[in-house]
Point group: C2
Chain length 296, copies 2
């Protein structure tokens, strides 16, 4: 299969759906909606929604039910980027080659745009009419995955651990735990949401979860490597920022080559977890490979 | 009925429930959980959860199903206070007589504690086992009310309108719209959630909604009046801050007495909307009266 084509198709599906449900720029309160849209439509790759879609397809093939629920993951991801970039947090000026949200709209609006995007994820996920045909019990489970993946022992907890680790002498185990929360839990939720909507058996959901945990870590290791070897142009933001902040990353402990090897081991393990799945899981397999090959 | 006793009982129920589900202070990530607990257990009156409980009781009498879902409203309310107090927003040093969250834990942690409390509301609301016995479709509707009440055309939208109105020459209609979003929508959601869990008919839900819209506005008008006539000791925060910020409030347009009269008219209207309800709705009626009588 042609993974680039697949990614492009699904990205367009997600963007079209998000465009269809986001309030227009002039809808009241206009500044808020402008700020939300600015970051949501800043050229994201939609990795998390696509993982959810691919996981759903791995079980039941193409289904219209997954697109709205998958898209909520991008709202959560976008909110987390806006808040991470704030002066009180990472204080970043650029993201995806554009000024960060607070640089354009100010800090107050950036905080509120993040809050509103997070809330909108749950708003969308709880609209009965958008996923008409899905068992409401499965819909509640999807919302539970979303919330658990992004909360105090998920993404937000990981961000706290990340802030607290800055400049400290942490060990690789602490680094892995931090990443398992900060990026891993939402990626895990993405794949599980796809599985739940796809009607996975408990056993299938376990395999998908193991797959997700492996690619989540590989994704983060690849990100750490890119932060060092990527150019500003490729990344759309400053390169090599981790080192200048005294941040411990995978390359700190294992070097660039050692980290790449670690990521590849995880990818192989992820794909092995899919051995009982048929060809409908090929996009998931290709997505895993794509993670370590990407340039941004 | 003794509304003071009722409020105290229900407040204790909510506090006990929140205590039972909140991670301990030393549970990882400890700083985050400390920050979340600091504001959540800072002596809030639990008005929104109590409104949900009272609305549920108005329909079906006492039910164990409502407490977990009602309590999520306090998580959302607390997050909104933490973010509102931030330096980039209202820049408040005190709240309920205690230092604000960012004053104790720093800005980054306050932003994240707010994010985590908001997310935890949806985490709790989507746990199937906590509300075992509730139709999952009703559970999805509750989550929809929570999200719609607190999002871009709810509480967050109202906060944006509030910020944008500061120092501007707005008219009473703009002021009312701002409040309808900023505090009204979450109060509306609180009452509707109670109704939904209580199994209200469409007609009953309409009456409850009309009641909620009236008390939501009365609540805000009373708050504006308290900001002027309340003492620092009663309020637990600085008094008369609206005027010093050039904020237009109800007393700006209608004076203190005129505003009190407006609030009382709303309360009377709220109670009139409950005319088809029996004595099980007495707590809702008394709650409405309590709103204009309170001192903080």
């Amino acid at each position: 299969m042609d993974i680039k084509h697949y990614l492009e198709q699904k990205r367009q599906d997600v963007d079209r759906f998000l465009e269809s449900i986001m309030p227009a720029e002039d809808a009241r309160p206009a500044t808020l909606h402008k700020a939300m849209r600015y970051s949501l439509f800043a050229g994201g790759k939609r990795v998390r929604p696509i993982l959810a879609i691919a996981a759903c397809e791995a079980i039941r093939g193409t289904s219209p039910l997954i697109l709205p629920l998958a898209s909520t993951l991008e709202l959560i991801h976008t909110y987390s980027l806006i808040h991470d970039d704030l002066p009180a947090m990472d204080n970043d000026d650029y993201r995806r080659g554009k000024l960060t949200n607070h640089k354009v709209f100010g800090e107050a609006m950036a905080i509120l745009a993040g809050d509103a995007l997070l809330t909108m994820a749950f708003d969308l996920a709880s609209r009965l009419e958008l996923v008409n045909g899905l068992d409401p019990r499965a819909q509640v489970q999807v919302i539970q995955e979303l919330a658990a993946g992004s909360g105090n022992v998920g993404m937000v907890g990981g961000q706290v651990a990340d802030i607290e680790a800055e400049g400290k002498d942490i060990d690789p185990a602490t680094l892995e735990r931090m990443h398992r929360w900060k990026t891993g839990k939402l990626i895990r939720a993405s794949v599980r949401i796809g599985g739940i909507v796809g009607g996975a058996t408990d056993r299938q959901l376990d395999h998908l979860t193991a797959y997700a945990e492996d690619i989540g870590l590989a994704f983060q290791i690849a990100d750490d490597v890119l932060n060092i070897v990527g150019t500003r142009e490729e990344l759309g933001k400053d390169a090599n920022t981790d080192a200048s902040r005294g941040k411990k990353t995978y390359p700190t402990f294992f070097g660039v080559d050692g980290s790449r090897k670690l990521a590849e081991e995880r990818i192989a393990s992820a794909i092995a977890h899919l051995k009982d799945f048929d060809r409908k899981a090929d996009p998931l397999r290709e997505l895993a490979r794509y993670i370590t090959a990407r340039k941004n």
